[in-house]
């Protein structure tokens, strides 16, 4: 039985997530898997995602992983990353696709044609680089992380949460958007902790230690 299962549904690069977890938990058994049985048996589950949400949902279902993911999200420490956060919500404008519907809200695109910064310079999409994550709610996952620490982002869509609002952090681009959510045993982030140097490793280490129940 794995300590941590990283859900692999064939979308993009899971190498970084796996290496970063191995770095913070050298003695844990960490597996990248597309086997629902391995996911069901794992103590913790990481749910990453890259690319377009429509493809991510399709590929997840093509591998018969929906049940195992829903079960994990309802029962054990569960970390969603990037599209893995977006998939937890009700729907996405990207391809007009339904999400897993675990959390209330929908995924929408940055309106890049109208976005400028304070010096009137055009803001690009994808939102790519290091932005400040402002914690709006206390959470054990924030332990040892400064209230406005910078994490690495790369995404063109973000989640517009609905009530009961699961948001626990926001960033500005240029308006505030939700960049981390939490409910019970679920914690999910729009940014990439595996690419966010020390501060990202601290968050992953918190996940490895996290006992939500």
């Amino acid at each position: 039985m794995a300590d941590i299962a990283i859900v692999d549904y064939g979308m993009g690069n899971l190498h970084s997530v796996s290496k970063a977890l191995e770095h913070v938990a050298p003695n844990a058994s960490i597996v990248v898997t597309s086997d629902p049985v391995v996911i069901r048996e794992a103590a913790r589950v990481v749910f990453p995602g890259q690319g377009a949400m429509l493809n991510c949902m399709k590929e997840m279902d093509a591998r018969g992983l929906r049940g195992a993911v829903l079960e994990a999200a309802g029962s054990k420490p569960f970390l969603g990353i990037c599209i893995g956060l977006q998939m937890l919500f009700e729907m996405s404008e990207e391809g007009n696709v339904k999400g897993l519907g675990i959390l209330p809200g929908k995924v929408i695109r940055f309106p890049n044609l109208s976005m400028v910064d304070t010096s009137e310079q055009k803001l690009k999409v994808p939102h790519m680089g290091w932005n400040q994550v402002h914690q709006s709610a206390e959470h054990p996952m924030w332990k040892g992380i400064a209230k406005d620490a910078r994490f690495y982002f790369v995404h063109s869509y973000f989640v517009e949460t609905a009530d009961p609002d699961p948001a626990v952090a926001y960033s500005f681009y240029p308006f505030p958007f939700t960049c981390a959510v939490a409910r019970d045993n679920i914690f999910a982030v729009q940014f990439h902790p595996e690419k966010s140097n020390m501060v990202g490793l601290t968050l992953l280490n918190n996940f490895v230690q996290w006992e939500p129940f």
């Binding site: 770095h23 890049n112 690009k124 932005n131 063109s156 966010s196």
Partner: protein
């Protein structure tokens, strides 16, 4: 209170070593890629770019081992380019630990590669690298830039600004824009080129080619409107640390990650 401008050291790699040339030729050894990556990471580099400039395909697999080794120790985004011809090359580099793959010559030879790679792995991991050289339009006397491929040896007749726009439409997530006129000269970015592309496309642009001091980095952001600035020799030979560069940019009211 927002997105930081990025400083990206670039490592040109051949035969397992980091090298540095002037105007794309005259290579000098600058050290071990893993060691240099670790040093830049400690200094606060926001990302790293590796360009495999190995001319033949003989030693192509060397870069995969280097990427693997760096990715296991350095937890910031890694972009890798050089000799990427097929979607399979993209897959191999991503599996070795690259977060983004840069496509240059092959994007011109086979633009569908950009679309296919972005479709398969997402626009966020596809960088299109453009090597551009200033040309004067003989009719209008206006300045334009032409795209070159094959490490700057082959003219394409393509206009760099139009090409960048086309690459965005095909699915590129970022443009790495190098001025061949300035590369290795330490005389500063071609700011008109950087600004022309950056103001045209909606995706991030990395300015490259010509950095010789910290003012050049500041100019690239404030005058070139770049989202990120790339430099090699000022860091390789220890003139400045990445941290010093960031402090200097912060003094000029540029938002950076310190």
């Amino acid at each position: 209170m927002g997105l930081a401008k990025r400083i990206i050291p670039c490592l040109d790699v051949t035969n397992g070593r980091v090298v540095k040339g002037v105007n794309f030729i005259a290579l000098q050894d600058a050290g071990d890629p893993v060691e240099i990556s670790r040093r830049y990471d400690e200094q606060g580099a926001d990302e790293l770019i590796f360009l495999d400039i190995t001319a033949s395909s003989d030693n192509r697999s060397l870069i995969l081992h280097i990427v693997e080794e760096v990715a296991a120790q350095v937890f910031i985004p890694l972009t890798v380019g050089g000799g990427v011809r097929h979607v399979e090359d993209v897959r191999r580099l991503l599996n070795a630990g690259a977060d983004k793959v840069s496509i240059n010559t092959s994007a011109v030879q086979n633009p569908q590669l950009v679309a296919d790679a972005a479709g398969r792995y997402g626009a966020q991991c596809i960088v299109v690298a453009i090597d551009a050289k200033q040309v004067r339009d003989t009719d209008t006397e206006s300045v334009k830039w032409e795209v070159f491929t094959h490490g700057g040896r082959k003219a394409t007749g393509l206009d760099a600004v139009e090409w960048a726009k086309e690459m965005q439409l095909l699915g590129a997530g970022e443009i790495l824009l190098t001025s061949m006129d300035r590369d290795g000269t330490r005389s500063g970015f071609d700011l008109a080129l950087i600004r022309a592309v950056s103001d045209t496309v909606d995706i991030p642009v990395i300015a490259s080619g010509g950095v010789g001091n910290l003012d050049h980095l500041v100019e690239g952001i404030l005058q070139g409107h770049a989202d990120a600035v790339l430099a090699a020799s000022i860091f390789h030979y220890g003139e400045y640390t990445v941290y010093q560069a960031k402090e200097y940019m912060a003094q000029h009211r540029i938002e950076v990650r310190l």
